[in-house]
């Protein structure tokens, strides 16, 4: 059976060029610990610094502003926990949005429980944070603003540049979770006015278990892990060398291919959106169409439950993800869709399609051939 993978915002396969770069660092040739003084160590250290430079180039940063982490979640945790710890004397208020990834949301909830003041900003029905709302939320106590660059569920691009400028004006540290934006749209830390920025390797065809936090020179932040002197003590622990080298190569390729690849994917994505609207009645596209990354399409199918839909699609080899509580193992449907004012029932019937470099015109044709009858079948069973 044909398999069509349309869940690239969940994870991506490691590119063969990336795997080739990584392999020596798992084997005899280059397994060294970059902290060691002898040749094996020096060679590893050199490869690590080359990777750091490639990641820095992807976002317009200096290599010494890149600190490797275990991934996006750790980078997000460090941005919040490390910033409030370093600014204890200044204040105890942070501002974030209600549509962040759980790596931010649940860290913010934890801080709230610990007595910090946290503002969770609302979003428009298009899924966008409004700069005006941030302006109103800022107090003398505010030490951090954290708003994601691109939302993981609906793909909306947030007004990060404006939010960053506002933070700068008030002398507040600004963090953006760029896990879903790098490799999809240009990301430049100076353009965005970002002090802190999170990236994950496996979303850009690199390996899982590696990511980084960008820390602008002069930004006050504490480590959240303690140990050796790796990453200039900001992130102790023996470095994940195969991961770092793979991440570097993936970043290099992402920067090089961004324009051409996104143009190709956008035309496939638009074909998918048009095709679904044409062939299936009672559907709506969730999230703003224009302020959106090229890989994302998120649809609400009325009177269909998301888990049933995903499972039926899976039986045809189509892999996507859903805002349904049942498919995510949580009690409530997607917090992002609910924050956008989408009724719970429609959120339960929402499916996210995210395209990637392996997708072809034939893949989209296959989905458009099969999806209408799947939806029709489930609607014929539905009690509504």
């Amino acid at each position: 059976m044909r398999r069509v993978y349309l869940d690239h915002s969940a994870t991506t396969p490691v590119r063969s060029e990336v795997l080739d770069a990584m392999l020596p660092f798992l084997k005899e040739d280059a397994f060294g610990n970059p902290s060691s003084i002898y040749s094996y160590g020096r060679e590893a250290k050199k490869a690590m610094e080359e990777a750091r430079e490639k990641v820095a180039n992807l976002i317009g940063a200096e290599p010494e502003e890149i600190f490797f982490t275990s991934g996006g979640t750790e980078a997000d945790n460090m941005a919040l926990m490390g910033t409030v710890a370093a600014n204890e004397k200044k204040g105890r208020h942070i501002i974030t949005s209600s549509i962040e990834h759980h790596a931010i949301l649940n860290t913010a909830q934890y801080l709230k429980k610990k007595g910090f003041k946290v503002t969770f900003l609302p979003v428009t029905k298009e899924g966008l944070v409004q700069v005006e709302d941030i302006k109103k939320a800022i107090t003398d106590e505010t030490v951090l603003i954290s708003v994601m660059h691109v939302n993981n569920e609906v793909g909306t691009i947030q007004p990060i540049k404006e939010i960053g400028a506002l933070a700068k004006e008030h002398g507040i540290t600004f963090h953006t979770d760029a896990v879903q934006s790098v490799g999809k749209i240009p990301v430049n830390v100076d353009d965005l006015n970002a002090d802190l920025l999170s990236i994950s390797g496996h979303k850009i065809y690199g390996p899982k278990g590696i990511g980084c936090i960008y820390i602008r020179k002069g930004t006050k932040i504490n480590p959240i892990l303690f140990g050796g002197a790796q990453e200039r003590t900001y992130r102790p622990g023996t470095e994940n060398m195969p991961g770092i080298v793979g991440f570097g190569r993936a970043a290099e390729l992402a920067a090089k291919e961004l324009d051409s690849e996104m143009e190709r994917i956008k035309s496939l994505r638009d074909k998918l959106i048009e095709g679904i609207k044409e062939r299936i009645p009672d559907v709506q596209l969730n999230g703003d169409l224009n302020n959106r990354v090229a890989i994302n399409a998120n649809f609400a199918f009325s009177n269909v439950e998301g888990e049933s839909l995903l499972l039926s699609m899976d039986m045809k080899g189509i892999c996507a993800s859903s805002g349904s509580a049942c498919s995510s193992g949580s009690v409530n449907p997607s917090h992002v869709l609910l924050a956008m004012g989408i009724p719970p029932k429609l959120a339960e019937g929402s499916v996210r399609f995210t395209l990637g470099r392996d997708n072809t015109e034939e893949d989209i044709d296959y989905v458009l051939e099969n999806l209408p009858q799947i939806v029709e079948h489930l609607r014929s069973i539905s009690a509504f």
Binding site: N303, V304, E305, E307, S308, L311, M315, S324, A325, C326, S327, G329, V331, P344, K345, E348, S380, I381, S382, A383, F384
Partner: protein
């Protein structure tokens, strides 16, 4: 995650549909996840002659509705009332623990349909 029986009943659900001449209808909705099941029965001489269902919900909700209809068709009302949600889950070779409470409610919907039938019947007689 799901047993073969669940997948079978989800893919090819039995007795789906509405019933115009039903003499008992029961509906139940999960307050947790919004899954909703409606069961229609046609009772003659104390026996469930025909049964149909409509379900909005996840695969487990659809499969348990389908399985229930097979379990009680042709049974007396007393026998049907003995079929519980747990028995339906068992007949499906089990359901994942998180599905047991929110999606497995077809038997409860049937019990409501039987109650509806008995109420109507009492008024008539």
């Amino acid at each position: 995650m799901y047993s073969e029986k669940v997948m079978d009943h989800f893919t090819n659900p039995r007795n789906v549909g509405e019933m115009k001449d039903a003499n008992g209808v029961g509906e139940i909705g999960s307050p947790v996840c919004g899954d909703t099941t409606r069961v229609y029965i046609k009772v003659k001489d104390n026996i469930i002659e025909d049964i149909k269902f409509k379900t909005y919900g996840c695969s487990a909700a659809i499969a348990s509705s389908s399985m229930l209809t097979e379990m009680v068709k042709g049974k007396t009302l007393e026998e049907a009332l003995e079929v519980t949600d747990e028995a339906v889950a068992e007949a499906l070779d089990g359901l994942p623990p998180q599905k047991l409470h929110c999606s497995n409610m077809a038997a409860s919907a049937l019990h409501k349909a039987i109650e509806d039938y008995q109420n109507k019947n009492r008024k008539a007689s």
